[in-house]
Symmetry: C2
Subunit: 328 residues, 2 copies
């Protein structure tokens, strides 16, 4: 099986029409009802795009750039997140063999994590979701958020462990005008990895499972710097080893980066993820294929064999997401 | 010749004793005079460290973590920067065949760039400095600084072009507690590259020469993401080509990262830089050598030949720094 661990919902305009009104009206409007007919054309189109590249199953979550975690107030964020999660549930129900649901969390910039814990529980226990997106910066560039080691996050880590679901660590938008489209993802992933690894989080939560999107931001490329830096502060130079406490997806649209990721963290820590359809979907005139058609690129690397390919495409995501991924 | 483009001054305690007092007393103290005897032991030690790894010539600049660009007031920053630049000048004069001076700039968080332009002029025209360090974030994490495309920076770019000297783009400290030692370097380099390439800077200053430290932060690893992203916004997918408008140094302490850098930007854009002695100096118990002993690591990569090695170790740095590097 080719399982793409990193996908986002393809939704009709009606969904974002609601979001725009919800924001503009500061939540003073009723939540619309989506019919299966509302969602079916988008779902069909999404499946065609997966068919084109041979993806059997994709995990879909909210579009991170649409999560609006720092906007307006927590009521808007809460209503929007619940609405999108319900749309994801309904989309997956239309294609249960092809799409599996990953929940967004209503992480508001000024709120503690309680609402996120409750929404995660609802999604997993009532709707069969298999994991969640975790945004390490719900302030979206406005000010530094609590570090990933902060007790602020602990109730969520606790609930993730109790429910036995992983998180895809995936930042969202940014209000910093210096950060062009999606650069914030890369920066916040880098900060979050360091926050998780230089702390007690994995000692306090030995069962916590976190997949870092986009090949781990800057860290696998800069691994030597952080390994060297630790020697200076009396560390044991085991940074590369600690990095393997996390998982990483392959949302990197260049062969040299995919090669480096697999070489640095090992094939057993890499989950196939393409984000198709998304940033990588444009057709590269050099190759004539979509940049997110990553399966042949990964298969063509000189650092993989049949065994590591099986891990990257199927075994690792099964191990991380557990029995909820493909119920018997 | 093996020319290391990325080194920082090794200075005696007397230098930082002055810095501490200058900060604590808010500049209300006289600047001490350094004798050659004050500096000689540090310079000798520094040269021994270069000898150990076969470096013929190193470019030395202020220690970025000691630049204190956002601290206290512009008088402190100005006095300190001038003092360090003078110490660099004096150190290089003690070993003129081995060390070449690169100036720090008194970039204060709340000041325009005038003082930096004046100090650059003094260092180059009066003292024979060959380039400067440029900190893209003189606010050191306190708030977003002006983007590299902002007119704020233009007088400095103009003066760099007039004097025909390059800058080593090198961030400094950070007040964000989420950023452990030197992570800020990587993040701000990534932001600065995007700011320079997504702007008119190189159209307005076709002769501007900028070397980005530490292998360009996250960008060479994430190049596919930014190339793909540009197609979505009507770009031509020439991001990799535009990236080659910049130069990058090899301060990356892992073979896979060095390999990726050379593969992505090309050997003609890579300058040997080790920062020795610095973050990479601890001895790696795995190899028994210092992590910043990068020459054999680069020579051992499967993406270099004799021609590209000559470029990386000598030709490129000569091209970027020009005739001031090795005066006849």
């Amino acid at each position: 099986l080719i399982i793409d661990s990193h996908g986002h919902i393809t939704a009709p305009a009606k969904v974002y029409d609601f979001q725009a009104k919800l924001i503009a009206r500061r939540a003073w409007m009723p939540t619309p009802k989506l019919s299966d007919d509302d969602l079916l054309p988008s779902v069909k189109h999404h499946l065609e795009l997966l068919d084109q590249v041979g993806t059997d199953l994709q995990l879909i979550s909210p579009r991170p750039y649409a999560m609006i975690h720092s906007l307006i107030n927590s009521t808007v964020v809460g209503l929007w997140t619940r609405f999108v999660n319900d749309a994801i549930y309904q989309s997956c129900a239309l294609a249960p063999d092809r799409l599996r649901p990953v929940a967004g969390l209503p992480q508001f910039r000024d709120s503690d994590i309680t609402a996120s814990v409750e929404e995660l529980r609802r999604c997993v226990e009532e709707l069969g979701f298999i994991g969640c997106l975790l945004n390490p910066d719900p302030l979206e560039g406005g000010a530094p958020p609590p570090p990933m080691s902060d007790r602020y996050w602990y109730p969520l880590y606790e609930e993730m462990c109790r429910l036995d679901v992983p998180a895809l660590l995936h930042p969202a938008s940014s209000s910093d005008p210096r950060e062009p489209y999606s650069l914030h993802f890369i920066l916040e992933e880098s900060i979050a990895i360091m926050g998780l690894l230089n702390s007690d989080v994995f000692t306090d939560f030995p069962d916590l499972k976190i997949v870092v999107a986009h090949g781990g931001g800057a860290i696998p490329y800069q691994v030597g710097r952080f390994r060297a830096g630790e020697f200076r502060f009396g560390g044991e130079g085991d940074f590369e080893q600690r990095l393997r406490r996390l998982y990483f997806d392959t949302c990197l649209y260049s062969p040299s980066a995919l090669r480096l990721l697999i070489e640095v963290v090992g094939a057993d820590r890499v989950l196939f993820g393409s984000e198709r359809p998304g940033t990588g979907s444009p057709v590269d005139p050099k190759t004539g294929t979509s940049m997110d058609d990553l399966k042949p690129v990964i298969e063509g690397l000189d650092v993989v064999d049949a065994e590591s390919l099986a891990k990257i495409f199927e075994t690792n995501v099964r191990a991380v997401y557990g029995s909820r991924l493909l119920p018997a």
